[in-house]
Symmetry: C2
Subunit: 188 residues, 2 copies
């Protein structure tokens, strides 16, 4: 106990998602996750507040990545292009993580409480993007609309990426969905 466990966090996350897929999220206990990972419950709770957090611990870095990308965009860029660039840039976070993202999404789709948590996560990402645009001087409602559009595109692109086979590039799906959104809102 208390000693350093090599990649304990990654092993716990991997064990958790395996068990959620095999047995269902509700039926899996923290004790079983720790056992599968060859670690103790105490180690689990040093890394995650509860079994749900294993599925949502990436939200913070996703938000930070999006906000940093908005902050770094050129001053001259139109708000929708700032958002499109930021959302497309998260592809790098999911590089070689297609299979684990697919498994995570299947677990979430099967549980109402997790679907709700996912909606809250997406709403908070939208709010963070809108705040970042306002800091660039984009007024409302343009800031909120561009942010909401960006998250809608992200959600739809992510679903299509998940449904693909092999190791497709998420960024490509994001750019395609933005082009579709532009066509749709232009009435085409």
């Amino acid at each position: 106990m208390g000693r350093w466990e090599p990649n304990a966090r990654g092993r716990l996350a991997q064990a958790a998602i395996e068990l959620y897929v095999e047995r269902g999220y509700e039926q899996t206990t923290v004790a079983e996750i720790a056992k599968r990972a060859g670690l103790t419950e105490r180690t689990f709770f040093r890394h995650f507040a509860d079994k749900r957090e294993v599925l949502f611990s990436g939200s913070g870095s996703l938000r930070d990545h999006l906000v940093n990308a908005v902050d770094a965009a050129p001053d001259s860029a139109a708000p929708i292009d700032v958002i499109a660039g930021a959302v497309a840039s998260v592809g790098v976070l999911f590089h070689e993580r297609h299979e684990s993202a697919r498994q995570r999404q299947a677990v979430i789709a099967a549980n109402a409480e997790l679907r709700e948590r996912e909606l809250i996560k997406l709403a908070s990402l939208s709010a963070a993007l809108a705040d970042a645009l306002r800091r660039r001087g984009v007024p409302d409602p343009a800031a909120s609309l561009a942010a909401e559009a960006g998250i809608a595109v992200f959600k739809i692109a992510f679903e299509r990426w998940i449904s693909g086979t092999g190791e497709p590039d998420l960024s490509r799906f994001v750019r395609e969905a933005f082009d579709e959104l532009k066509a749709v809102t232009a009435g085409r």
Copy 2:
């Protein structure tokens, strides 16, 4: 008990929202709502499953109204125009209800559980709109994107309508927000 109570549902809803505003949602009991309305708890439970449902019982008719409007749109209309028309048409449901809508929104904003429920409501409206577009033959992702865009516009227009004074027309805010969305996605 059991006898017909004139407009019991409306009186209970009115009493509930008054108490939620005065004392807070969490602090209000069904017994207090019934007492304020001059009715019994049994009557309350004939109309609402619980105190939360008072705030969300309109979701079904909102969804039906949106879906019917999509179904009734001319075949030749572009998907985004079908959605814009449907969302603008819900203004009629909120006619002379600005003050009660404002109060409801303040209660929801003050409570995390209610904010989550509101997000779920909006997500289910978006799903219903996308389904209605697919029934018209609109392919994905255009159907999902147009539906998500419509709900984003509805959310933002509703917030702006709530913030207004007097008895403004919700439909006007919806049309303005759609115009803004078109400008934003066109990169203006």
